[in-house]
Amino acid sequence: MSLDDLLRHPALWRAREQGGSSSPAGLPTGYPELDRCLPGGGWPSRGLIEILTDRTGIGELTLLLPALARLCGTADAAAHRDAVGTSYGTLHDSHGWLAWISPPYSPYAPALAAGGIDVRRMLVARATPAEWAMEQALRSGACSAVLGWAACRDRQSLRRLQLAAEQACCFAVLFRALRAAHEASSAVLRIALEGSRDGLELRILKSRGGRTTSLRLAAIGSTASAPAH
């Protein structure tokens, strides 16, 4: 293993590269304003993404939908692969499954299909210890995206999830309540969401290799915008 390989290891973060072009390429979020705020120009390619919100229905899925559709191999996956290179290339090639662990309601297939998700490769699991099921899904290597709704009351379970997500190289999103924002977390990216009349308010609480900021996505959930799908 050469030094370059070591330096390129995703677990390694160098302060010099903050926001720079050399951080591993992310998965485009589908929202250019958000892409600009994230290191690598998109969702981090490894590690756990935490989304903190108290409400279901303010646009949290709409936020993720373009990235999920991309992972399903729909949309302009090929073009993206050419542009971005290898980091998510394996994901695009394999079209893994999309696991929903303990979602608050039943995901509605027609809406997701209209959003570009291949519902035939979706797996919905209702687990009482959602952390366990999410970890299994991450460790299985079968899923290209894992969405989990878990409380993660103790730091140890959160840490385990983060480790699993780190190794799995898949799009791992954990939804938690907003009050967890004050707790320490090992997640790579933490975003608090709040709905408003003018769009979805994002507060980036933590971003490894990036900076904390807040922004508003007018494309999601604002009264002025057209419905997202």
Binding site: G59, A75, L91, A111, G116, R120, L123, A142, G195
Partner: protein, 562 residues
């Protein structure tokens, strides 16, 4: 063999009191013109042309199969050593009323009891008679046990229910030192199981069977000698219908040889064509294919646990060596299992039964142990475990895994079934499901929870680009034009909203889109007549609500836009 004393009819067909069709064709080509089969020699019949046949079939016939099957694994054998051992035993068929003796052992036969005798007469002859009921399942098991013994000699074994097994031995002769030794060793093995078989070896399966049934233990290697040797056999050994045999007897045809002398066409016309085909097969003139017996193997192992085990972790440790043995057993056979049954015995409580079901054929110990761990983790033991029994489902053929050339496939397809079976082992089968689209206008019927593993994999969703390009929201699978948005979350049951004219949900609602009228489903009793609206509440949550049209009315929340 005593000759029947019935008046003999002359075998000359033209003078026999046969119907006109038989008499009309007096000297057509015969089924078998002369002993030795010279006519056919070299005429494209390889079996007849060579000195030794291509195939050699050994028939193992069990004349006393009814009683032997009861003795094999049953209670008859267990108390045979007791005080009732001396009593003669007969078997009756309870399914047919149980009034007639089906089979009698040597003592009963010595006392004058024969199969077919009324049970009452038999009891009158021998009051100490022990009467057993025959059991078709055990008879079948006996036959399969014999077939398993036979499989040590040749892979080509076929069952001939109810009382015989056929083995093709041509290829095994050299290994076992010739036909005579092979038959001797086969007979000895069966005798050690307490069976008294009759063996007959000839080039055709039917001929072997007939010889064995007739009680003639022959060893014929050359097809040429078949007609001459078959000729003296009584026709009863063919097990043709009773009526046919009687009809033939009235014609004076009681032996196979006499039957062979009858004109072929007339014989086929007068009796079933099947019978003539059987004669041809017995002679080796017609091919006779047999279905090979495949033993339905299982792996069963029991273990007593000393000392008793109370916690599941140690239980796992006790079971894992058994799983290793199971996997070695599977590996040798190139087989796999799809499910395993585990029975845990307790001192007082009823045994705990666990069933491990795999997503596909499995033969790796680590994977089974993984699943077992999850399963044991959610099992409550009613008490310490004294013993356990592991029993596999019938074995299936193992599927060879195709490895990737460069080994860089990150998301392997095989991982999904494994993930699903692991989740199911802990959460239960219902907790894990997939989704599929249904072409339906009713929102709640437009998707179905399906089995993840049954869904076709590898096909891709229609590009979202096409969805976005068109102004209309076209659902890719249903082809339905969704001009109105659908929520990403759907409530399992619509939730009634407060407020009569203006519905509320955590505050007043603001209309965004609607109404979309959905009226459907009058045909299956789940009639839907609704006006759907997209609304937003003060917290910024977008909701999908509907107003029930018709008598009931009222507002309901049906979905949430994620």
């Amino acid at each position: 063999m005593t000759r029947p004393v019935l008046p003999r009819v002359m075998p000359d067909v033209s003078s026999s009191p046969a119907p006109a069709d038989l008499a009309a064709v007096p000297r057509r080509p015969r089924l078998r013109p002369a002993a030795g089969g010279g006519r056919r020699r070299g005429a494209g019949d390889p079996a007849a042309a060579t000195a030794t046949a291509r195939e050699l079939w050994l028939a193992v016939h069990l004349p006393d199969y009814i009683l032997e099957s009861l003795r094999l694994g049953g209670d008859a054998g267990r108390d045979a050593g007791g005080d009732r051992a001396a009593a003669p035993v007969v078997a009756v068929d309870l399914a047919r009323g149980g009034k007639v003796v089906c089979d009698a052992d040597a003592r009963a036969t010595a006392a004058g009891i024969t199969p077919g005798m009324a049970l009452n007469s038999a009891l009158a002859v021998e009051p100490t008679l022990r009467v057993l009921s025959r059991d078709p399942r055990r008879e079948r098991a006996l036959l399969e046990a014999v077939a398993r013994v036979a499989q040590a000699f040749t892979p080509r074994v076929s069952l001939e229910p109810p009382d015989a097994v056929l083995l093709e031995l041509r290829g095994s002769l050299r290994l076992f030192g010739g036909a005579r030794r092979l038959c001797a060793s086969m007979g000895a093995q069966l005798a050690s199981h307490g069976l008294a078989p009759r063996l007959a070896l000839t080039p055709t399966p039917l001929a072997s069977l007939w010889f064995a049934r007739a009680g003639e233990q022959v060893l014929l290697r050359r097809p040429g000698s078949l007609p001459a040797r078959l000729a003296p056999l009584p026709l009863a050994c063919t097990r043709w219908p009773e009526r046919t045999l009687q009809l033939l007897a009235t014609m004076g045809v009681r032996r196979v040889g006499e039957c062979l002398r009858l004109p072929r066409d007339g014989f086929a016309r007068r009796f079933e064509p099947r019978l003539r085909l059987e004669l041809d097969r017995a002679m080796g003139h017609a091919p006779d294919t047999r279905r090979a017996f495949v033993a339905a193997e299982r792996y069963v192992v029991s273990r007593d646990l000393e000392p008793e085990i109370e916690d599941t972790t140690r239980l796992q440790g006790a079971i894992e060596p058994l799983l290793d043995a199971l996997c070695r057993f599977l590996q040798v056979r190139g087989a796999a299992v799809e499910s395993l049954d585990l029975r845990l015995r307790h001192r007082e409580a009823a045994p705990t039964r666990l069933r491990l079901r795999f997503a596909g054929p499995v033969s790796e110990a680590a994977r089974i142990a993984d699943l077992l761990r999850e399963r044991l983790a959610r099992t409550m033991l009613p008490g310490p475990v004294r013993g356990l029994r592991l029993r596999s489902a019938p074995l299936v053929e193992a599927r060879a895994e195709a490895g990737e050339l460069f080994g860089n496939g990150h998301h392997c397809a095989a991982a999904v079934p494994q993930l699903v079976e692991r989740l199911r082992a802990r959460l239960g089968a219902e907790a894990v499901h997939g989704l599929s689209l249904v072409a339906e206008h009713r929102p709640e019927a437009a998707q179905e929870n399906g089995d993840v593993l049954l869904l076709p994999s590898g096909n891709r969703c229609i590009s979202a680009k096409t969805v976005r390009k068109g102004k209309s929201h076209r659902s890719p699978m249903t082809g339905e034009y969704l001009r109105f948005p659908r929520p990403a979350w759907l409530l399992a049951d619509p939730q009634p909203l407060e407020g009569d004219a203006t519905p509320r949900y955590e505050g007043p609602l603001e209309m965004e889109e609607g109404p979309e009228r959905i009226e459907s489903g009058w045909w299956d009793g789940r009639d839907v007549r609704r006006d759907y609206y997209v609304v937003r509440n003060p917290a910024g949550v977008r909701l999908w609500i509907f107003r029930e049209r018709g008598a009931r009315g009222g507002w309901f929340l049906h979905g949430v836009f994620g």
